[in-house]
């Protein structure tokens, strides 16, 4: 094929399709989040515009566009403009590196270091937040920006370290290779249970989501780093935040939950099976991927409705004193198991001995932790229900 078609026109067409779908999902997430939060809190949520309030997805951007773009008189003009632009650009680019279905048709581009590039791009999002917070020249904004920077930077370390275990098992930085490896062995959540847990907690903290939403603690900081932003610039911050959430969910699904495949040990819907079904198979893979991703987006919302906010010192303690040692121990254990128990080939099929050992060890650790947490403490305060206070 003509190289111009292959590397310029096709990726551009595929990017535009992916771009539109992603933007619709991001806009829809905003509406879904408000509706689901409403359901959880026994109220209605936005239901006025269109059927079930669905047209809210269209109404929101139009309203953002028609609002006045206020620039505070004391703001640093250039940095104030760059604030929302810097997180937006990586949020857009990252989606052309994520394979939504079996490549080459369902991924915009396929590189052998896709994961590394995604990590590099997503971690630049913090620049926009701290720049926007500083340029607004407002105490709330500055404090929100600083908190956000410290938090994102702290959780970047366990976030990066938790992926190392996956890389050791799969031996590649190529997301397609990692997904295929999982389809032919076992989903990485099982052998890397601890890493998946660390990754999930860190990705919540990276996105400034509850219970880690200190930068946006409305009871303390009004709105955090985007206090002074209005109209489309504010919308860009929201867009970047929801895109980052989507990217992290895509990473979680690709790294730990088998991406677009639905297979174990090579049986089930592997990439080869999907490809043999032609275009519809690819589409099926994409649907599986999106369903998995949306499940994690729902967990984000569920967390927001359920958990109270951390205190800042608790947040730092969790990140530096618990998550980092835990991630390092996980790497150490994975290293020993990979070294001591390489793959065994019995009757021509691969038996993942190391993965099994890791899965058992991970499950045992989780069971032990749960047991220790659930065990009633000797000096636990006696809980009296409010209706029985007078009797006590």
């Amino acid at each position: 094929m003509n190289p111009w078609m292959l590397y310029l026109v096709w990726p551009l067409i595929k990017f535009l399709i992916a771009f539109v779908i992603v933007q619709v999902i991001v806009a829809a997430m905003n509406w879904i989040e408000r509706r689901v939060l409403g359901l959880i809190q026994a109220r209605l949520g936005p239901n006025r515009v269109g059927p079930w309030g669905l047209l809210q997805i269209v109404a929101d951007p139009i309203k953002f566009l028609l609002k006045e773009d206020i620039v505070p008189s004391s703001a640093e003009k250039i940095a104030y403009f760059l604030g929302p632009m810097l997180p937006l650009v990586p949020a857009f680019i990252v989606f052309c590196l994520i394979p939504f279905g079996p490549p080459p048709t369902f991924a915009v581009t396929h590189t052998n270091v896709g994961l590394l590039l995604i990590l590099a791009l997503t971690s630049t999002g913090v620049y926009g937040i701290i720049l926007g917070g500083w340029a607004s020249n407002n105490k709330y904004s500055l404090m929100g920006g600083l908190r956000s920077a410290a938090q994102m930077v702290s959780y970047e370390v366990p976030f990066g370290l938790s992926i190392v275990g996956v890389l050791m098992l799969c031996g590649s930085l190529d997301l397609v290779h990692i997904i295929n490896y999982q389809a032919h062995h076992v989903w990485n959540v099982f052998p890397q249970l601890i890493a998946a847990f660390i990754f999930f907690v860190s990705m919540n903290a990276e996105n400034n989501r509850t219970p880690f939403d200190l930068p946006e603690a409305e009871s303390e900081l009004v709105a955090g780093y985007h206090t002074e932003y209005s109209a489309m610039k504010f919308a860009f911050f929201m867009l970047a935040e929801y895109s980052a959430m989507l990217v992290n969910c895509c990473l979680m699904v690709s790294l730990f939950l088998g991406g677009w495949t639905l297979a174990i040990g090579g049986y089930g819907l592997t990439t080869a099976t999907l490809k043999s079904m032609g275009f519809m198979g690819g589409l099926l893979g994409t649907v599986i991927f999106v369903v998995k991703v949306m499940t994690f987006m729902m967990i984000y919302i569920w967390f927001r409705a359920t958990f109270p906010r951390f205190r800042f010192d608790q947040l730092m303690d969790l990140g530096w004193k618990w998550m980092i040692p835990l991630a390092l121990i996980n790497i150490f254990v994975t290293g020993i198991v990979v070294l001591a128990a390489p793959e065994m080939i019995i009757n021509g099929s691969v038996v993942p001995v190391g993965e099994t050992i890791l899965a058992v060890a991970g499950a045992a650790t989780v069971a032990l932790t749960l047991f220790l947490i659930m065990k009633p403490r000797a000096h636990a305060p006696k809980v009296i229900h409010a209706s029985r206070v007078s009797e006590a």
């Binding site: 773009d69 505070p72 590189t111 050791m168 860009f236």
Partner: protein, 123 residues
């Protein structure tokens, strides 16, 4: 393999373009009703009490420095992790494991030192 990155470059330009176009559209279509109190910095409705450019707690810088240290550690772990499984089938496995163990232990000593110095305590 460089050509697979061409789409990424194109998307960079597209993303910048989309951002600038939407922001300028907002300028054109959006309302224009300026007044001095609207452009004043938001301080919960109270007039500005003192300057907004103040000193920042040194702990934020401390965290940034520690981050660089430990993130570089993670960056060093990546290439090692990628070749580890293939190499451990041969004789190099034990060597690779030992090398990384020494590296992590050295960093671990630093980690314990920083912990004892109470750099992780936010109080």
């Amino acid at each position: 393999m460089t050509h697979t990155f061409i789409p990424v470059l194109i998307m960079l330009i597209v993303a910048l373009g989309v951002g600038v176009v939407i922001l300028s559209l907002n300028r054109v279509v959006g309302r224009h009703q300026r007044n001095p109190s609207k452009a004043a910095p938001y301080e919960s409705g109270v007039p500005l009490l003192d300057t907004n450019r103040k000193r920042v707690n040194v702990r934020f810088y401390q965290i940034a420095m520690l981050f660089i240290l430990f993130d570089i550690e993670a960056a060093f772990l990546y290439p090692w992790a990628v070749i580890y499984r293939d190499a451990s089938h041969g004789n190099a496995g034990m060597f690779l494991f030992g090398e990384m163990l020494v590296f992590i232990l050295l960093l671990g000593v630093g980690y314990v030192y920083v912990w004892k110095k109470k750099a992780f305590d936010w109080k």
